[in-house]
Amino acid sequence: MIRHAARATPWLMFGVTAAVLAVLLRVVAEWPYRMWPLEGIAVGLLAATAAWPFDEPAAAVVDSLPRGLAWRTTARTVGVIALVSWWLLLVAMTRTAYFGHATAVAGQGCAAVLTAIAFVSWRRSRGSATPAHALAPATVAAATFLALARPMDDQLPLFPYAEGGPWTPSAYVWSGLAIAAVIVLFRVLGEGGRSTRRSRRTPEPGFDTSSQELSPSPRERVGVTLRLRSLARALVCTVAVMLPIAAAGPAAAQRLDIERGSVQDTFDDDLYLDLCGITTTTTVTERWSLKTYPDGSQVFHDVRTFRSADPRLPVEKGAATAFYAADGSWRVVGKPIQLISPDGGTVLLDAGWISFDADGDVSTVRGPHPSVGVDLADYYCPQ
């Protein structure tokens, strides 16, 4: 099966797609508000690429072999699972970019892949040798158009945008697609797992069809056993791909209270008075969302810019998500502080992950957090 998968998977295209997906999600992570259409396009590219291995240009030959469509489909899923795993890893690495909906974004990719596989398998079972040739461009085109033009955001919320987007209806749409895809897969692969094209083909001269229908040959009985095993393997693979989607549903459902806001305010800045002895006003521009869960835990996402009226002082930017656990501990993920000098250039950058215990002491640090445990006056005050 591994050998079959190794030869059937277009590794060059998978490699190129993996690299492009990484770039797309990295750009989204850098400018989530501005580059958001790339998220939907990434989902489309993932689904389109996942469909390719299921094309069988030599269908006329392989359909006549003992290993049925179910076995071959299962074998060809190996590369796809690797690609989906890469997708999940990328989403996890850029999870702060999705307005607190990283699980939903991961689920979009998984559901799109399942739908693409179901469609291609169905077309294969109906005799089409290379259905991905049509599906892949159509998928990318549809995702591109929907992500860029967003023509039916309310009616068809496939790629919701920002904190206030219709994420819950979107989760239902993608879950529905995934469930429908699984049903189609089971029907297609379970109905014998062979292309109907072969059964419709005129028998070769001298081929005794009547005896085959009345009493299956030993080779056919072996074939049936193989198909059943293949089906079981297909089930395992499908469940493995479905797990993230199953996780996405409850994650969306358990959210009870969400507050959002945007702030633009100018105030007397005590920070500079305390640190540097400078009296100035600062303008803050901020977009935030706060989710409160039934167990008391909270998720606070904030994107903000502090700009002081005094031109000698740096500009402070921040884009991060804080997760407050019910036990009082919390962690901050993202880029909470980026201090930009008035002359340009970053003078201080906290990025990555930092967690605190219930007493407020730092417990884990991943990534640079130079602001912890230093005199901030060195960074904030003019030299």
Binding site: V16, P37, P137, V140, A149, T285
Partner: protein, 293 residues
């Protein structure tokens, strides 16, 4: 004798070109793209910016889709040619015929342009949108043509280049995605890239990019859309020449010379598109929340 051969070649090109035009017109993705463009026109222009903001629809539905359509036509053309045996038509003739098939999407792009000009005059943009100040209607028409009509040619020609030069599976869809990626990055949202953004085959010249204190304020970005659309025509010509260069059986010397010449012209046109027209980002004096009609 030579005249007869030339006539035969011209006749073959014309008949294959007509055939490719029909194939393009029948391609499902093109039909969907044309219908989406038509549907957008039926829905009507944007209430704030009129037809200026609607150019994204033909750019995506005719341009990006066109990359995929043309790459598919190139592949099927090659398959049909190899199935028919050697000597049916040279690669150069088939490439020219495929390039000629861009007449089909371009006619839809022109129809969009006609509608967009009509809509721009019938339902002009609000004062708080663009154009404003010294920037007038000719600027707007150039934007509508460059960003609405020309992508219908540019996208398919890029597909032609991809179909000729990139043979791995899925090359067209990866190219389409990369095209969208670089276009979004260079569309004018990122301030340091605004001046050089006209290098790209699609970019905005105005939009609600915002200023400090008003995140939706309309701006007119630097550059001349009039020079820009001439630059895009040069890019399309370069695309056709690059696609023709793939044929190793035909003489390439003339093509290489032409490519160098058009390349130089394109560089000059790009520089003009950058340095002519508006030279400082113009901020609409009216705030974005203003309801002034």
């Amino acid at each position: 004798m030579s005249q007869t051969r030339e006539d035969q070649r011209t006749s073959a090109l014309a008949s294959i070109a007509v055939h490719e035009m029909k194939r393009y017109a029948r391609h499902p993705l093109f039909i969907v793209g044309a219908l989406l463009t038509a549907a957008m026109a039926v829905v009507g222009p944007d209430k704030t910016s009129s037809s200026l903001e609607t150019v994204i629809v033909p750019a995506a539905a005719l341009g990006v889709f066109g990359v995929l359509v043309m790459a598919s036509l190139v592949r099927s053309s090659d398959e049909a040619n190899s199935a028919a045996g050697a000597g049916v038509a040279s690669e150069r003739t088939r490439t020219l015929a495929l390039a000629a098939a861009t007449v089909v999407p371009f006619s839809v792009g022109l129809a969009f342009f006609g509608w967009a000009v009509w809509a721009f005059n019938d339902s002009p943009p609000l004062d708080r949108a663009a154009p404003f100040g010294d920037v007038g209607s000719s600027w707007a028409y150039a934007v509508l043509f460059a960003l609405g009509a020309l992508p219908a040619v540019g996208g398919p020609i890029l597909g032609l280049v991809v179909g000729r030069w990139l043979s791995f599976r899925g090359s067209a869809i990866v190219t389409a995605v990369l095209l969208v990626l670089v276009t979004i990055v260079m569309q004018g949202l990122i301030e340091p890239l605004r001046f050089v953004r006209v290098v790209m085959p699609w970019t905005y010249f105005a939009g609600p990019f915002g200023v400090h204190g008003d995140s939706e304020r309309w701006l007119i970005l630097t550059g001349s859309p009039q020079w820009y659309f001439v630059y895009l025509v040069a890019l399309c010509t370069i695309g056709v020449l690059v696609a023709l260069l793939h044929d190793r059986e035909a003489s390439r010397a003339t093509l290489v010379n032409a490519l160098v010449g058009v390349g130089v012209v394109a560089a000059v046109l790009c520089a003009l598109a950058m340095t002519q027209g508006v030279q400082h980002t113009m901020v609409n004096p009216l705030p974005s929340s203003s309801d002034t009609p």
